[in-house]
Amino acid sequence: MKNSSKKLSASDQLRFTDEQFIWRFSPNQTDPELLEAIFVGREPLLQNVLEKIADSATSGATHHVLIYAPRGIGKSHFTALLHHRLVNDEKLNESVQIAWLNEDETTTSMVQLLVRIYRSLCRWYPNDYSANWLDELLDQSPQEIAAVLTRRLVARFEKRKLVILIENLNLLFENLSTDGQHQLRTLLQEHPFACLIATSQQLFKAVTDRSEPFFGFFQQIPLKPLSLSEAQQLLVKIAETKGQADLVQFLNTPDGRGRVRAIHDLAGGNHRVYIVLSGFVTRESLDQLVAPFQKMADDLTPYYQERLRWISPLQRQIVELLCRQHGTINPKEIARRLLMDQRSIGKQVRILEEIGYLTSTKRGRETYYELSEPLMRLAYEVKEQSLLQMLIEFLRIWYRPDEMQKLSTAGLSSSTQAYVDAAWERSQTTPDPRLKLLQEELERAEAEGRSHELAALWEEKAAASKEPSDWFQAGYYFDEINKEHARAIDCYDKSLELNPKDAVAWSNKGNPLIKLGRYEEALTCYDKSLELNPKDAVAWSNKGNPLIKLGRYEEALACYEKSLELDPKSAYPRFNRSEPLFAMHRWDEGFEAIRDAFLQSKLDNLGDTATMFSLIFRLSEDDARLQSRISTLVDLYQQAAEERGYCKPTQGAERRRFGNVNADNDTSASDHPRSNLHSFRTVVNPLSHLADGLVKSLAKIDAERFTPAVLESCFAAVEQRVAKMPEFEIPLRLFRYGIRYLISGKESEFVELIQPERRILRQALGLPDEL
């Protein structure tokens, strides 16, 4: 039995030609192994559906699922792969059989549906179901056939489940009519022997209207269009199956991503279109690109023209307008341009959305519409324009302006030359469309909180714009968010190549260097920055960090002091003074620095408490001093917490009042983000911050330099001081198990922790996530 989800090894990798991908792709006739190899973004959903089927097969439950998405989004691919996984699942094979109903066959009655189901079973399970028996049965009356087939199916599936895969459920239900639907629902309700796994292009009345028999029957799951990054993965996988290692590498470069974006702009998330267009990515010569594009346009145009014929004249006018308009438009503007009443346009666009021609997005109270399949423009352009506008725009996204200029002087065929000239001419008068697309994508990614995608987007924009500020942004996000420090350094280098006098870029470049342990180089960067701007408090403060790592504590201290001279309210250097002081065993001064930070700074940062703990653990000479220092540290943070009303003052404890310190939460980022080695965060309960640091300190404990007895002493010292403090309840528990792990080296220590606790602790210890 083969494991269908395994990755193909290099030796058994499938090789497919462009033509097989481009012109012969039809999921239910395609080798399932190829479908596996190019399956992206939908694995969790596929697993979900498989689990539902397994649950239906092994319990008394019956799940029914309807997956809906516009044409070409990948429903057939999904269904074909689901079928493949089911038939190859040895365990499920015992308890389910599958009837996969061909999407093109028309069924107008319940009895026909039963015959189709039985015929499909005959095809896939010829030993269990006899086609001859069915053929003989067809001589009976339709009622008799229905009754016999129902009895037989119910009896056959008494102990197992029938999975009926239905494509285009909307068409089936439309043809069955309400009576047929009632009969089907009744059959499934009275004899829950089958689960329906269906697809449709959209949700439709028969499943959404309460008065219809199948209302609420299915779990309805939308299949989302591929995102840009999923599209990129898809193209990478296609390249892998073709054995194009160089292309895989190219697709991961900014230029490669730019080309994926050009395809994404055309495909609009449409799975099928990516596969059709995937062959273009390798085309380096313009003639090789233009001719196949035109061929694709020729092949697809009749299909889109046919689809335009299916809708009413007014709906067609709306779609044509959107074909002319590249982008989104609201019903008010559509009404204005078509000289129509806004209300009737509003109704029509909603219908067009329901039947899969348009998609909508909300901006404030307005709804904007666009073509759900950008290639629909072909239907309009082919008859209206001598040159395909889509191809001109495609070329402008595909090639950078400088590449375009070079190409325009190369010897090209006349048809290609016409396109290049048009693209070049347009680039002289209109902005680079790639930058517009990237800017839009950046805004979307920020709004949707996809912060991990920002770095690559800025990098791609920088490659197109050649702006140092874009490279700077890419460097910032690679360093701070993605933690890809080497890549961040590359980006800062590119920014500095274009603008070597950017003091902030020099300072920022030092930070990823420190994280990679390249302290001397970091120091050079900070020095360069301070040469350009000696009054930069942040650069002074940053410079202190590599000095500590190099053991140059006095110099580090001086840097922090210098930083504070320039910006006396800054919390970061104020707290950080404690680090070199602790390292030099000047404990009292170190604690005083923390106390002073609480008193004097604006508290947009509460110090690197993980380092404070780790220094105390490592440098304390004996248990008594360890205990006392932990106690002092906790006292300081507890007092700060009390001052800020996070907890009640401790009875009887004599404390120095901090006075009225203004807890200023302002962490607003400028356009040119500055980064320190430790991300700023808004003010929280100081004790919670200290407790976080305790857990994080586990990462800084080098277990080999500590004996088990010392580790236990560390835990005992902390426990003695914080055991009854609610802020430490969970952190202390995690710390305890973390110490146990550091002593034994065994992950089985975590067994008593609950799942989210295990997750945090594994993170703190730098262990990979659990499988």
């Binding site: 979900n48 029914h64 009576d179 309700q189 009275e190 609420g216 779990q219 309805q220």
Partner: protein
């Protein structure tokens, strides 16, 4: 357990209904049952659990009768079920064929006479036969069938079938049935009465309304589903309580939320759960089909201005400062008038309030005040009406 919104549940997956089911078996000892509930409460799952785990001595036969469009079809269905139960199915089939073949003349009149005879004889056969188990019919979606018969064969036939079943219950003291349906039988009976065919076809039945789950059961269900779908959570009890409370302890919506969290690969935190529910309530596609609470008003209250007045009453209740505090009839009357209702007087208002209570929009407290029965519906109503 896997989330399964809309599908059939394993009997063990039907939570919090054991007491109700025990009560229903007890009632069936003496009378038939009319069970109604708002959609999505899970009444069909209650019937399925009873069907698959019947009380000793009982043999339930479940039929979804929404597919039935004529009295004849219904009579044949019952006849067939009885003969199957008695083990005489083949013989019965022969009898039926002969019965019609030999009486080809005057077929229309024959049909009118025979369905009643067929149905009556089926039940008489059943009662007369020696047996170890008592048969009970579960006729799900019965109001649908009656409506359909009314449409196809007229109000007279629709009333006759109900009256025949009623007289069978009177005559055959052992004959038991449970009627259920997602539309209230009172609406169907009201239409028949309006058409000149009043009937007391349900007066002898024990009427039970299925309520949402009790909070501990709903929370247990939510927790088991979260575990079954392997959804991450910070605090299982808190997540389960939030899910259950957000949807007024409706099992269907609890399944729905957990299935949705799984699809979105979200962690079950309070904010994610609340955000998910909030999105369902304002989603233009109305994935929970709550719009039905508004659109069905014209069908449920077709007379005069009733539908409009009901909407205004719901507006008044939705705007109550404290949604948990019922509003007095006088206050509702005053506020509804202020919002342009044409409710004639106090009695007219009470008539509407009683209907709305029967349709599960409202609930009434002992001093006589009214409020929305389900906070989720109130929340949706406020959002949908822009109040």
């Amino acid at each position: 357990m896997k989330a399964n919104p809309g599908g059939n549940l394993d009997p063990e997956g039907v939570y919090g209904r054991d007491q109700l089911i025990a009560m229903l078996w007890e009632r069936l000892e003496t009378q038939s049952v009319l069970m109604d509930a708002e959609r999505r409460i899970g009444k069909t799952q209650v019937l399925r659990k009873m069907l698959l785990q019947p009380k000793s001595g009982w043999k339930p036969i479940y039929r979804n009768v929404e597919k039935v469009h004529s009295v004849q079809e219904f009579a044949e269905l019952v006849y067939d079920d009885v003969q199957q139960f008695l083990g005489t199915a083949e013989r019965a089939k022969g009898f039926l064929r002969r019965f019609f073949e030999e009486n080809e003349t005057d077929y229309v009149n024959l049909k009118a006479r025979t369905w009643r005879k067929l149905l009556t004889s089926a039940i008489e056969d059943l009662m007369a036969s020696p047996r170890n188990e008592r048969l009970v019919f579960f006729w799900d979606e019965l109001p649908w069938m009656v409506q359909s018969i009314q449409r196809n064969e007229g109000s007279k036939s629709a009333v006759e079938i109900l009256d025949t079943i009623r007289s069978l219950r009177d005559e055959q003291t052992e004959f038991r049935v449970i009627f259920t349906g997602s539309i209230g039988l009172h609406h169907v009976l009201g239409k028949l009465a309006a058409d000149g065919y009043p009937t007391s076809a349900k007066n002898d039945m024990f009427h039970v309304t299925v309520t949402p789950l009790a909070p501990p059961d709903a929370e247990r269900l939510a927790a088991d589903l979260l575990e079954g779908e392997k959804i991450l959570y910070d605090d299982l009890a808190e997540a389960a309580a939030t899910i259950a409370e957000e949807v007024d302890y409706f099992p269907f919506y609890i399944h729905h939320i957990v299935a949705g969290l799984r699809i979105e690969q979200s962690t079950a935190t309070e904010s994610n759960i609340k955000d998910f529910v909030a999105r369902q309530l304002v989603d233009a596609a109305d994935p929970w089909q709550l719009g039905h609470y508004c659109t069905r008003l014209s069908t449920y209250y077709p007379d005069g201005d009733d539908a409009r007045n009901v909407a205004i009453i719901l507006d008044v209740l939705a705007l109550a400062v404290d949604p948990a505090e019922p509003l007095s009839v006088d206050y509702i009357l005053e506020q509804a008038s202020g919002r342009g209702s044409s409710v004639r007087d106090r009695d007219d208002l009470l008539r509407l309030l009683r209907l709305m209570d029967a349709d599960h929009y409202l609930s009434r407290d002992t001093p006589g005040g009214y409020r929305f029965r389900f906070p989720l519906i109130r929340r949706w109503w406020k959002l949908d009406r822009g109040l």
